[in-house]
């Protein structure tokens, strides 16, 4: 069922006609043998740790499936420096829990690490966010889902260094694109998987955008989500699209451990719904 036009990102149209696209990687000979079954067939996300850098995760929520393995929060020390401390398995807004639910909907056996950088009237959000991301990289997670960004010029070099750090530590950073036309970091950095929303109600449907900085499009309109206090609702926004890609990345990494973020991107591009090759989207077996 084709979705209404206004629910497709502007860039998805041209790329559906892959023949006219500059994103030619998926058409190259070697990648034609890559399909979704190869990429993540029978994978569950097992042994992949995904950090959710957000508002916290409600550990007891049914959609979190008991997969929350660690919760920390960034708070400001007496000197005003951000520090990471253990946190309750709680979510102050509901948003981090929503992200966890989406990721686990695709990768049910992934391990969720909650890094809470929002709430409790935290000042210096950019610095707290950076410290949380740094902690997640040091902690050795394989995927980090970021639904927030910093607009501060002063934070640009900090996030740039962290994005490189993540890349060199094989941490795939998945970031919600901003739909307000201002510079924001780290979603604009090249090593990050930046994600915008599409409106087709299918968690497995995603697009590769050959004209970055936004590189991927995933379901982000009217997505059923887990919310605060064990509840569920439906939500729209790029920040609900990003965890769909994070979930797919977790699946790929659980089946192919040790891939670099660059390799993960190449695989995603090869099996995207708008990649050339009619069998790119052969439905994989799910265990």
């Amino acid at each position: 069922m084709p979705p209404p036009d206004d629910d497709l990102p502007a860039w998805s149209g041209p790329f559906v006609d892959a023949g006219a696209s500059p994103g030619s990687l998926a058409r190259s000979a070697g990648l034609q043998s890559i399909d979704r079954d190869w990429a993540w067939g029978r994978a569950t996300g097992k042994r992949v740790r995904v950090a959710i850098i957000d508002s916290g995760v409600e550990g007891s929520h049914p959609k979190v499936r008991g997969r929350l393995v660690e919760s920390v929060a960034v708070q400001l020390s007496a000197d005003g420096d951000p520090e990471v401390v253990p946190d309750e398995p709680q979510d102050l807004f509901g948003h981090g829990t929503a992200c966890a639910g989406i990721i686990l909907g695709l990768a049910p056996e992934a391990e969720i690490v909650s890094v809470r950088v929002l709430g409790a009237d935290l000042k210096g959000k950019g610095a707290a966010f950076a410290r949380g991301l740094e902690w997640a990289i040091e902690r050795g997670v394989q995927v980090a889902n970021l639904s927030l960004s910093s607009k501060s010029e002063a934070m640009y070099p900090v996030f740039h260094e962290l994005a490189d750090d993540a890349y060199f530590h094989n941490v795939a950073l998945v970031s919600a694109a901003n739909n307000v036309p201002v510079q924001s970091y780290p979603s604009l950095f090249s090593s990050v998987l930046s994600v915008a929303a599409h409106g087709e109600p299918d968690p497995w449907r995603f697009y590769y955008n050959p004209r970055p900085p936004v590189e991927f499009g995933a379901w982000g309109v009217d997505v059923p989500i887990a919310w605060k206090d064990g509840t569920e609702t439906a939500a729209t926004g790029n920040s609900f699209a990003a965890p769909h890609i994070a979930g797919l990345v977790a699946l790929i990494l659980s089946k192919h451990p040790g891939l670099t973020p660059f390799e993960v991107k190449a695989i995603l591009a090869a099996v995207a719904d708008n990649a050339a090759g009619s069998d790119a989207r052969r439905t994989p077996a799910i265990s």
Partner: protein, 260 residues
């Protein structure tokens, strides 16, 4: 040398003063309620465009940190005006904190959804969309739309349109706020120039004098000279420092059109 500003510092500080005075002069031309009227026109237009039950703008205010609903439109909007929520609370708080636009539907089906805030504003929406008011300077607040009548949900196009309105609002707010922030900006600029050699009451006096002139005068730089020279309680050394500043200001000011 150690307590004298260097040439570079002086130039920087004078440039800061010049920028502040110029922006202040622009802001002074805007009427006192122009920000309010502009915001109101934005929520009115948003309401009509979306055919919604309510639209509102909440702006960030410090001490204590809060998001204050400044304007609203629509039959269900009035109850929100003047109410505040914590920046760590509810959808508005999340959108403000993250800079991420989002929409929720089936809100009423969730009995615990942000009920305290909704009840305080006197209206419990079924769906809502919220986008941040951001510009290069950061987040100023949140624009919200409640209950689009034609559809139970918000589309991507809705979110993009809302972002366009939010960009307008953010620009207007940033311009209007320069006026309000003028004394603080001036105080820090003068403080930087004086490099510790002026007492804080003296800096305050200068800042107040300079902020006042922007509301009254077309020609901030030349009036600045008058105001500064009327500050009596400066010592010899400070006056000499100010003379240096003003000579640079005068050079900058001479580039602007002035009264002969």
């Amino acid at each position: 040398m150690n307590d004298e500003p260097t040439g570079d510092e002086l130039t920087d500080a004078v440039q800061a003063l010049r920028a502040v005075a110029l922006r202040g002069a622009v802001a002074a031309r805007m009427e006192a309620d122009s920000e309010q009227r502009l915001l109101q026109s934005i929520v009115d237009a948003t309401l009509r465009l979306f055919d919604a039950e309510a639209a509102s703008i909440a702006l960030f205010e410090p001490d204590p940190d809060r998001l204050e609903f400044r304007v609203a439109a629509g039959p269900q909007g009035a109850g929100a005006i003047g109410k505040s929520v914590k920046p760590s609370q509810g959808i508005a708080g999340f959108v403000f904190s993250t800079g991420q636009a989002l929409a929720l539907s089936d809100v009423a089906s969730d009995p615990r959804f942000d009920r305290s805030t909704a009840e305080r504003t006197g209206y419990l929406p079924r769906s809502l969309a919220a986008v941040p008011l951001v510009d290069e300077g950061g987040a100023h607040g949140v624009l919200q739309v409640l209950d689009k009548r034609s559809s139970p949900t918000f589309s991507l196009r809705d979110m993009e349109l809302l972002a366009v309105f939010a960009t307008q609002a953010a620009t207007a707010i940033a311009a209007a706020r320069v006026q309000r922030d003028l004394p603080t900006l001036l105080r820090s600029a003068i403080g930087a120039v004086a490099n510790g050699s002026l007492s804080s009451p003296q800096i305050d006096a200068l800042a107040t004098a300079a902020a006042d002139l922007d509301r009254q005068a077309e020609l901030p730089f030349w009036t600045l000279v008058d105001h500064v020279s009327s500050v009596r309680n400066l010592g010899e050394r400070e006056l000499s420092l100010l003379a240096d500043i003003l000579s640079v200001v005068a050079i900058h000011g001479a580039r602007a059109p002035r009264r002969r």
